[in-house]
């Protein structure tokens, strides 16, 4: 069941509170989005600031070229995340985001959906996708809290940054040929709040999940013995990439910090010229001119820092998280192979057991129980044969699993590299462009001032003329 929207949602439409948020209120498991925001529902204005972000799936059709260009020709699903709203209950306060979907895909009953989701719903979706497709590369989610304190936790900027990241996450999933077909993804986009809650409760029970975890830990402790060369190469690359992107993230944040401190001093600098002009006659105008130039440069600097924070910083941060995702994917692949190897070893051991002479102890024991030694040996052989057959079946399945996992990863790896290049290239390009623009604007400010000085008659000629 879902609600249809009568018309394409216009960019200015805000504040549509879904009729039933009761489902949201019962969600108390995690405190990921237990954020005490100001109880101000004008947070909906968040999306107004961002003129460049498409605020409806409809407007996104025209802007799809800003997303992944590979699939833009065949894009059949458009998703936007916007309109953050805070919800206050007696127990907690949290934010929900509106998720709008327009699609022509046949697996969806309708062509348009509008739902509200909170951060922990996104977390759930990511978890499910990773469980189901353990060696595919899922785009990272924004973090729960920003530890470094660069972005304040409880203000509009934080919400906006998170909203953009959530938007990107869903679109990356939608662009993925395999992940976008996931049933969990479909439910996430289309189900009403209470439906989602019900759906979430299905799936493997607690105990079976525990069992899987234990096995995963055991496998990772054992380690993989014969990792294919190409995956070792990928792992080495991921290590290096992780270091480099981490450094870039730090450097960029440092630049933002230095720029902000520079701006603070600059703001005090202009007024000193104005102050001076108050004591002067001939020089007053010129001093005020310089003060004005500095002030205008201040504004440009502020804009430039803002751009850096909005464009480059989030992308670098995203790829820091990506690096961690990649490491996890490689680990999971290794674990799958480790499990397969372990079973193979078990098989070999069993075979050795079966083909070995019966031990004296077994013979003695059997004779104590009054068994015929021949019969005992035969029984034992039968039992081991059965077990070996079972093992062989399991090993076949595991072998398939390993092959599938490796192929999935290989395929996704190329895809990831391409989109990484695209994302980082465009972020750096945008930064460089903005910096050029910044210096051009400042140049114009000072050149205008200089021009105004040079067109004034010089002191020398003036003196000749004045009595």
């Amino acid at each position: 069941m879902s609600r249809t929207i009568d018309a394409v949602v216009s960019p200015t439409q805000t504040n549509t509170i879904p009729a039933d948020i009761s489902g949201q209120m019962l969600d108390l498991d995690e405190d990921d989005d237990l954020e005490v925001f100001s109880k101000d529902s004008t947070l909906a204005d968040g999306n107004m600031f961002n003129a460049s972000m498409p605020t409806s799936p409809g407007s996104m059709v025209n802007q799809c070229k800003f997303e992944e260009d590979e699939e833009s020709d065949s894009k059949d699903i458009f998703i936007t995340v916007d309109n953050p709203e805070s919800h206050v209950t007696a127990i907690e306060t949290f934010i929900t985001y509106r998720v709008l979907t327009k699609t022509t895909r046949s697996e969806f009953d309708n062509s348009e959906y509008e739902v509200r989701r909170r951060y922990q719903d996104f977390l759930w979706l990511k978890g499910k996708l990773e469980d189901t497709h353990s060696t595919l590369i899922v785009h990272p989610l924004p973090e729960k809290f920003v530890v470094k304190g660069m972005v304040e936790r409880f203000n509009g900027d934080f919400i906006e940054t998170r909203r953009k990241a959530l938007h990107k996450f869903l679109n990356r999933v939608a662009d993925h040929p395999i992940l976008s077909c996931s049933e969990d993804f479909k439910v996430f986009l289309s189900a009403q709040a209470w439906e989602l809650t019900t759906y979430k409760k299905q799936g493997p029970g607690f105990l079976s999940r525990m069992g899987e975890t234990v096995r995963a830990v055991a496998n990772s402790v054992r380690g993989v013995k014969n990792r294919p060369e190409e995956f070792t190469a990928i792992q080495e690359y991921v290590e290096d990439f992780s270091n480099k992107i981490g450094s870039l993230d730090k450097v960029t944040q440092r630049i933002v910090k230095e720029q902000k401190e520079y701006l603070e001093e600059l703001k005090e600098y202009g007024p000193t010229y104005t102050l001076w002009s108050g004591s002067e006659e001939e020089l007053a105008e010129q001093l005020k001119g310089v003060a004005g130039c500095i002030e205008r440069c201040c504004k440009e600097t502020e804009e430039q820092v803002g751009h850096l924070s909005d464009t480059l910083v989030p992308v670098l941060h995203e790829y820091v998280l990506c690096a961690e995702t990649l490491k996890a994917v490689l680990r999971r692949r290794d674990n799958i192979q480790a499990e397969f190897e372990a079973k193979n070893e078990a098989l070999a051991t069993k075979k050795v057991d079966r083909d070995a002479e019966s031990s004296d102890l077994g013979f003695v024991w059997g004779s104590l129980l009054g068994k015929n030694p021949e019969e005992a040996r035969h029984q034992r052989q039968e039992r081991l044969d059965g077990e070996i057959e079972e093992l062989k079946e399991e090993i076949d399945k595991l072998e398939d699993r390993v092959e599938w996992a490796n192929n999935a990863l290989k395929g996704d790896w190329g895809r990831w590299q391409r989109s990484m290049r695209g994302d980082l290239k465009s972020a750096f390009l945008s930064t460089a462009e903005k910096n050029v623009d910044y210096y051009e604007k400042c140049l114009a400010v000072w050149e205008t001032f200089l021009l105004s000085q040079r067109t004034e008659p010089s002191e020398e000629t003036d003196r000749d003329n004045t009595p």
């Binding site: 600059l266 001076w276 001093l287 980082l424 002191e459």
Partner: protein
């Protein structure tokens, strides 16, 4: 070059490499300008060339290292004959410059004497060393000392001073000469007067205003220089952090195939960007020095105002003294005691004086009155003379200040333009590299 002489700009020949043609042309311009005042610069080129370190014993017989500066002079005429002879030269240290300036301050109290460059680096930003031995600081001081000499040489009054001339031309014995002038005694009394507290009843309003102006100027320019230094500090940080991009891009390019080239070259541009700030801020330091000169000028302005106050005070004291003597005479003559005086009290207590005593006193008073009137006349003339000459110099100073600072502000704008252009270039290059990624 900021020094000039009088209303017209003459070619100031400082420590630059001019071709002989340019020199000729400069001299022609010089000769063409008809000036009311003579200028030493018409007669000789002055420059402060190099700086060297010397060791020696100081006044408390301890080893010290100090810097000496080479002063080179050459008569202007010598050049027109087509041959450029070697300049005469001698070495002077900073303390000798100080001595010269103190001498001039005392000898010409109505002149706004150009200030010396800083003895120690005061308002600096963190990268600049506050060490007196730092080569950059020494270089900037050299420029400042040259500027100081040129300003003196352009000054209509100071340029004719003998002590100044000998400072430039004779290394040995100059110090003794200065002390022989006896200026030290005047210097001491001047210092006392500067620090004394007295109230003037009728100061010339213009001097009062000038004193306020110089106080204001000192405050605003100090503040400006301090903030500028902080801005420079921050700007340095911004540029230098970009150098890290250079390093990381370079390392990252090693593990990338397609992006490698683009990243590598972008990294080079980031390094260039980070390195560019050194020259940018060095240039700005010269701008700061121009402002500092006028910051230090305020002290000279205040000195002239103070001298006026002192002169005016002495005049008022003399007049007051005369008035009181006249009053006393009148009382003696008429026998009335209008004002309280010890004489009046004692005469009341001990009886009136004899006629002879009165006569004697009267004569003394009349003598004193005559002397007093002379003194007042003298002081009046002195004061008028001072006000007149000082005010000419002050007007001259104001014009010079407006011209120099206007030029400084323009050069500051030019510096900013240059920095912006460099920024545009670097980031345009970087953008192209990113495009190749």
């Amino acid at each position: 070059m900021m020094a000039d002489s009088g209303p017209e700009e003459i070619a100031v020949i400082g420590n630059t490499d001019l071709t002989s043609a340019e020199l000729e042309n400069n001299i022609k311009n010089t000769m063409v300008e008809i000036e009311k005042w003579t200028s030493l610069l018409r007669k000789m080129e002055i420059s402060v060339g190099e700086a060297e370190k010397r060791t020696g014993k100081n006044t408390v017989n301890m080893q010290e290292i100090y810097t000496v500066y080479l002063i080179e002079t050459r008569p202007v005429d010598a050049v027109t004959e087509g041959i450029i002879p070697a300049p005469d030269s001698l070495w002077r240290r900073y303390s000798e410059f100080e001595l010269l300036r103190n001498y001039l301050l005392v000898t010409y109290p109505f002149v706004v004497v150009a200030p010396l460059p800083e003895k120690r680096a005061e308002i600096v930003w963190h990268k600049l060393s506050a060490d007196n031995m730092d080569p950059d600081f020494v270089e900037r001081r050299r420029v400042g000392l040259e500027n100081f000499l040129l300003r003196l040489a352009c000054h209509p009054v100071l340029c004719n001073d003998k002590i100044f001339y000998i400072f430039l031309t004779e290394e040995k014995g100059w110090k003794e000469m200065v002390y022989e002038t006896g200026f030290q005694a005047k210097a001491d009394s001047r210092l006392k007067a500067m620090n004394a507290a007295f109230r003037v009843k009728n100061p010339d309003k213009r001097f009062t205003e000038l004193k306020h102006y110089s106080d204001e100027l000192q405050t605003v320019v100090s503040q400006l220089l301090r903030v500028r230094a902080r801005v420079a500090d921050r700007l340095y940080g911004v540029y230098k952090v970009h150098g890290n991009y250079g390093r990381v891009f370079s390392e990252w390019s090693a593990i990338e195939k397609e992006m490698g080239d683009g990243l590598q070259s972008a990294g080079h541009h980031m390094d260039a960007y980070a390195a560019s700030v050194d020259d940018i801020l060095e240039e700005e330091e010269h701008y700061a020095d121009q402002l500092k000169e006028y910051l230090f000028y305020t002290e000279a302005l205040r000195a002239v105002c103070r001298k006026h106050e002192l002169t005016q005070f002495e005049l008022e004291m003399a007049a007051q003294d005369l008035a009181s003597k006249k009053q006393q005479k009148e009382e003696l003559v008429t026998g009335t005691v209008r004002t309280f005086s010890l004489k009046g009290m004692t005469s009341k207590l001990f009886g009136q004086e004899t006629a002879e005593q009165r006569e004697a006193k009267l004569q003394v008073l009349e003598q004193q009155i005559e002397e007093g009137e002379e003194a007042v006349k003298e002081k009046n003339t002195e004061s008028d003379e001072f006000v007149k000459t000082a005010w000419i110099d002050i007007e001259h100073f104001k014009d010079q200040k407006d011209r120099d600072l206007k030029e400084a502000l323009i050069s500051y704008a030019i510096m900013q333009i240059s920095r912006c252009k460099k920024g545009i270039q670097v980031w345009t290059n970087a953008k192209e590299c990113f495009n190749k990624m």
